[in-house]
Amino acid sequence: MHPTEPKLIGAYGDREGDGMVQMSFVLPMPPSVKAREAAKRFAELHGLAEPLVTAMEEAAAGYSYFVVYGHSAHTVDASKLEVSEVRTVSLSHDELEARVAKRLGRKIVVVGACTGSDAHTVGIDAVLNYKGYAGDKGLESYRCFEAHNLGAQVENPELAARAQALGADAILVSQVVTQRNCHKDNALALVDLIKTQGWRDRVILLLGGPRIDHKLALELGFDAGFGPGTKPSEVANYLAQRLIGDENSVSLPPI
């Protein structure tokens, strides 16, 4: 079942081109023939043909929960998608240490934290701490890294100060809570701070978290972004490469 990837990509239910899509949502109406019609109409507005309302239940007084199936006419032109992904070669633990030792001749200093009121440390710990993530050891485990983990709830000014004091090559920021895009505000604020302090060009800024992708990180003024499932070795390779240069690039495993 290896479709030669079509240029125009549409949804697949059980036969080529059926465009089958499932939706669920709540509308502020109690269940009724009219509400069912509204749900149908609502689905049609999204581009679903022959929408089938398979569930209509009162989720709360005056609110109905719906499940709808329909045939979507929409297709995506794969050729027109601009995707930006972090690209690195993946060297083994030893290769990487060797290469850094040879080309840089000193340890790479990184400072990491989960900033703002965000108390989620598991992500940044996974990247920095020896233990690592899913069997992939963290930066602490590399002889070529000097990793400082400031933990969570670290305010930007404090992070910036510590990083400068430690002469950090890179700052690793984790953002997990995203309500009302507080993660973006937080991240932007750090970049602005460092810019105004005038050392943005002397440090690599990495952003990570379950809702982060490379594209977003770039938009926010970081050098790279890492999302769910990131392996510490990916981060290690990226940093080493940025600092000692390495051209032949392959793409990361999809995240």
């Binding site: 697949y12 059980d14 080529e16 669920s24 569930a55």
Partner: protein
């Protein structure tokens, strides 16, 4: 069942004769798409000669100079006049003339069986419960794609559901098909196409993947033969289903079932029976015992057709109204009971369907409970529930998520069954005893009244059918004293 078996032994059907013809090598269709096997048998049936067995006439044609079975069949089907078989070669000479053909017919089945066994040795099947999923696009090529996708996602068994009307057709369509409602036609070519796809999957994932289809309806025995030679692994095969849910005449389908099971036994195919379906029309709490009773009856028929326990996938289901308090316990009782009674059988367990609604999220949870009972009670074959059961035939995504959920539950609760001891005199034990008791009582009743009567009274699935009613009765014939069918004789003697 003996009473019925006596009837079976003294009768044949157009289906059985077509099967015999095909086994001997009759193949192909005319320009109308009508199979030669049908043209041949129908002609002799109209002439009232089926009672002597189509083999008798094929043999005579061979003796009469036909170069091959197919040529013999063509002569008989299209030839200017009919062979009334009254004069000339005797029954014994004819039998002799068919000897080689009979041997070839058996070899073909045996070779397929051997090939299957070799593959299974090379690619060990998955752990029980085997995960059984359905594909039903209507287009055999899409089906093949879906079948591989299912295997990729972890399926152990793939069934291609038949087009809804096929069981009422009195012939088997020919060649690959790409149009069908509710499913895809069962044809010999379609069997091959899917077999090929599934074999590739077995290779790719190093796990044996089973292929199954439906040997039911008016062409029950012909399909059984096609499945045997095309190396299918399982067949839904149950006269009761056809009688109750397809209104097929019981005399006809009992005879067809017997012959189909003789072939199935020879080729080592696992059958799945359809008692689970009863609970879709009858209440699963009140009528639970009818499932068990019917399984005993089905087993009795199977034994008389030479099927061993290891090939008997008796069907039962998780169809109790989920709104009933402690329904989970009642389901456990039923599942555990069947498991213990048929402890050497590859029993087949069916998911909730009747009480499924269009709320796919809740439906997914309902299936999760079913999966948990499946692993906890050690079911052999489990047809996975689909969260879209109340909506459509499963989409690729539905099947993927169903397999993902089942795999998770089978693993997270792998040894749950070994851990639990059910409280003496508790709800579960009491329920099991009750169902067993009711089943035995019903069986005694059936014994007294004969199966014909029991069915007529609606003992199963709350559906009533009469002995001579239903579709296909016209195709049933009493065998003449000199009825000839060396192929069937060989199967019965288990020789070769």
């Amino acid at each position: 069942a003996d009473e019925v078996q006596r009837f079976i032994d003294t009768h044949t059907t157009v289906g059985v004769e077509r099967t015999t013809a095909r086994a001997y090598g009759v193949d192909g269709v005319d320009d109308q798409g009508t199979p030669l096997a049908n043209l041949l048998v129908d002609r002799y049936h109209q002439a009232g000669l089926t009672c002597r067995g189509i083999a008798f006439f094929l043999g005579r044609a061979l003796l009469g100079g036909a170069g091959s079975i197919n040529e013999a069949a063509e002569r008989l089907a299209y030839g200017p006049e009919l062979d009334h078989g009254s004069t000339g070669k005797t029954r014994e000479e004819t039998r002799a003339a068919l000897e080689r053909a009979t041997g070839d017919a058996l070899d073909r089945i045996d070779l397929a069986r051997k090939a299957r066994e070799e593959k299974r040795a090379r690619f060990p099947p998955g752990a029980a419960p085997l995960k059984y999923v359905i594909v039903a696009t209507g287009n055999i090529y899409d089906d093949a794609t879906q079948a591989k996708a299912a295997a990729f996602a972890g399926a152990d068994i793939v069934a291609v559901i038949r087009a809804t009307a096929q069981s009422l057709l009195d012939f088997v369509p020919h060649g690959p098909t790409t149009e069908g409602y509710g499913g895809t036609f069962a044809t010999q070519e379609n069997f091959r196409i899917v077999r090929r796809a599934i074999d590739e999957a077995s290779e790719a994932y190093g796990r044996y993947v089973y292929q199954t289809n439906y040997s039911s309806g008016l062409c029950m025995s012909e399909i059984a033969w096609m499945a045997a030679v095309e190396r299918l692994d399982m067949l839904l095969n149950d006269a009761m289903y056809g009688i109750l849910f397809r209104d097929i005449n019981m005399c006809r389908t009992f005879v067809d079932q017997y012959v189909s099971r003789r072939i199935i036994a020879r080729s080592g195919i696992i059958i799945n029976t359809g008692e689970d379906n009863y609970l879709t029309t009858a209440d699963a709490v009140e009528k639970a015992h009818t499932v068990l009773a019917s399984q005993f009856i089905n087993e009795a028929f199977a034994k008389r057709a030479g099927l061993g326990d290891e090939l008997l996938g008796l069907g039962h289901a998780y169809e109790i109204n989920p709104r009933i308090e402690d329904s989970f316990l009642l389901e456990i009782a039923q599942a555990q009971l069947i498991r213990q009674i048929f402890d050497r059988h590859p029993i087949k367990w069916m998911p909730p369907t009747k009480h499924k609604s269009g709320d796919i999220f809740q439906s997914h949870v309902h299936d999760a409970m079913f999966n948990l009972v499946g692993i906890a009670t050690g079911q052999s074959i489990e047809l996975l529930g689909m969260f879209s059961e109340a909506i459509h035939n499963p989409l690729l995504m539905d099947r993927y998520l169903s397999l993902k959920s089942a795999s998770y539950i089978f693993s997270t609760a792998r040894h749950l069954g070994d851990e639990i001891e059910w409280k003496r005199g508790g709800i579960v034990e009491a329920r099991a005893r009750q169902v067993l008791g009711e089943a035995l009582f019903l069986l005694e009743e059936v014994e007294r009244e004969t199966i014909w009567e029991a069915i007529a009274k609606g003992a199963f699935a709350d559906v009533k059918r009469t002995r001579h009613g239903g579709k296909g009765y016209a195709g049933v014939v009493e065998k003449a004293p000199d009825y000839l069918n060396p192929f069937l004789d060989a199967l019965e003697r288990g020789e070769g």
